[in-house]
Subunit: 338 residues, 2 copies
């Protein structure tokens, strides 16, 4: 398999991207990597060119660029040419740690949506601190600012496939993020979505989940509109970060006893940080386009890039997007017959 | 001043409610408390009847009752009669730790909205872990499942008054909870609200705030629609709780060193818990009705009830609802002239 890598995207590109690619190349003997970017800069960091091809590109899309315009105008940028190689069937999947909006735009305009899917959903994997699994999948976390019932229905199906194919969970428990556990809770969008999901016999729908319960492992796939999902994702990150910072500062402000206690708890905080760190599950996945697309955090280091590439590889390996395309094709046939 | 207290609402009612009322009575010499509930049960916990009047009621609204129906049908319940006493001018403000939906319904149907306000907003005070203030105000956190631009505009004004009158903050910084810092972020509702708030010269509008930044003290009032606000509030509580639980379990699972370290850090965790505990700022306030209304958490102990009653008293003392009514009356006159 061949993975298209935007080598110029991310705060530490191309250095960390190249290092992450080398880690993944060493791990996966069946995988080739096509790196799009400035050849001299890439070569500077590349230790071993085995199964790594460089496609030189002149320009790149910056973090501050207006996404849609940048994708339309910078036709020879690393991201656009990487997406084009997926579209042309020269590579199987797309990776970037750069401008999220531009990756979204390039995926939609160049790679294209799976037939039957109205809006792809940005999907993330978060830690479950209790329950049978150590993580869960949530979508949409921000690809769409406005969503309709049919979008949320499709997110549920996309998440269901991802959870079973890529995360390897049998019969994933699908929940709807809502403002109460009862089925009549929420605004019209969420009330109607509840009914639609409950009716779908292909889904193991377990009802509403409140954002308070998110990390408690009661669902494998959490379905949400992109506005709420984005707010809740950022809030989870922010609250955890603020709280850990508060603990750290309180330890530093405390006397000798507190500082000593903090020192003794270092291994414990390491465990906590490991459990909260969801980058080991990979990056954010854009589900609903014709090929696997993964976005790593802009500040990713080589290990995080490696995890995101492993995830991308797993998506290709399990034929996720082909399975999705088949499912939606059959579904649309069935809908026609009805 | 006289505060109407639903003595039967809350998980530990009337015991904790009565104890909280006695704490507040001992603190505030100018305040009388009218307790609505089962007289014999209240008397069982009441140590000193000074400035405390009991109005016996036969029934109460349960946590599981459907709010609107319960308020309409249980006309002699403790909550309904307490709200009625506010409406009749016999008391100045309403307190309950019971069914939130029922308190909302009783406030709307019996006490009534301030003229010019379309939808009251549920308002909560959360800790600021950095910045110049130790807390901020957020609304709406769930009174309304669906909101329009004019509702969010009114929430901003309500929050502005609350923050300056009750929290005592000069020229509060008002921010809009949105999915990005830039003014063109978010769905139509949030884009249009941004423009409306930016235009209002009576507000110190500081732009969008992302939920990641919520606890970092960059705003004094965070304006949000009730669906997102509810999700983010519950997520903040849930993430903090899950993380602290994870730390606790990791300490218990660690060896002797970890347990000793945990013991030594007990005072530090006490500081952290104190900073995160926002019940000292009172309960949730329903802003936009004709009299101050405060809802304490169902599981409140006597100290938390005391804090909520202090907050209610402060709202009466600073003439918050009268000031709000005057403001909206003038505003509507000005709008007519235009």
């Amino acid at each position: 398999m061949k993975l298209a890598v935007d080598a110029m995207g991310g705060d530490y590109a191309p250095e960390k991207v190249v290092q992450g690619v080398e880690l993944a190349r060493d791990e996966f003997a069946d995988t080739k990597f096509i790196l799009f970017g400035k050849e001299d800069q890439i070569r500077k960091y590349l230790k071993n060119g085995e199964r790594i091809t460089i496609v030189h590109t002149d320009s790149e899309i910056e973090m501050g660029d207006e996404p849609v315009r940048a994708v339309r105008q910078k036709k020879t940028s690393s991201l656009v040419l990487a997406a084009q190689s997926v579209k042309d069937g020269k590579t199987d999947a797309l990776f970037s740690a750069g401008n999220t909006g531009a990756l979204l735009a390039a995926s939609l305009f160049i790679i294209g949506r799976i037939k039957g899917i109205d809006r792809p959903g940005m999907t993330t994997t978060l830690p479950s601190l209790a329950g049978p699994q150590d993580s869960f999948t949530m979508l949409d976390v921000g690809a769409n600012a406005e969503s309709k019932v049919k979008n949320l229905q499709q997110f549920a199906i996309l998440g269901n496939f991802y959870s079973s194919n890529v995360a390897g969970i049998t019969n994933p428990r699908i929940a709807l993020l809502n403002n109460g556990a009862e089925e009549d809770k929420g605004d019209t969008l969420h009330k109607e979505t509840y009914q639609a999901l409950a009716k779908d016999s292909n889904l193991n729908f377990v009802g509403n989940i409140e954002s308070r319960e998110l990390l408690n492992g009661t669902a494998d796939v959490v379905v949400t509109d992109g506005f709420t999902g984005n707010a809740v994702l950022k809030n989870t990150e922010g609250t955890a970060l603020s709280l850990l910072k508060l603990i750290k500062h309180s330890i530093l402000d405390s006397g000798v006893q507190g500082k000593l206690g903090g020192l003794m708890l270092k291994p414990v905080f390491k465990v906590v940080q490991d459990k909260m760190d969801y980058s080991k599950h990979g990056g954010a996945v854009l589900l609903g386009v014709k090929a696997p697309v993964v976005k790593a955090h802009g500040s990713s280091n080589e290990t995080q890039i490696y995890h995101a590439l492993s995830q991308l590889r797993q998506m290709v390996d399990t034929n996720l997007t082909t399975n999705l395309a088949d499912y939606f094709a059959t579904r649309s046939e069935q809908n026609k017959e009805i």
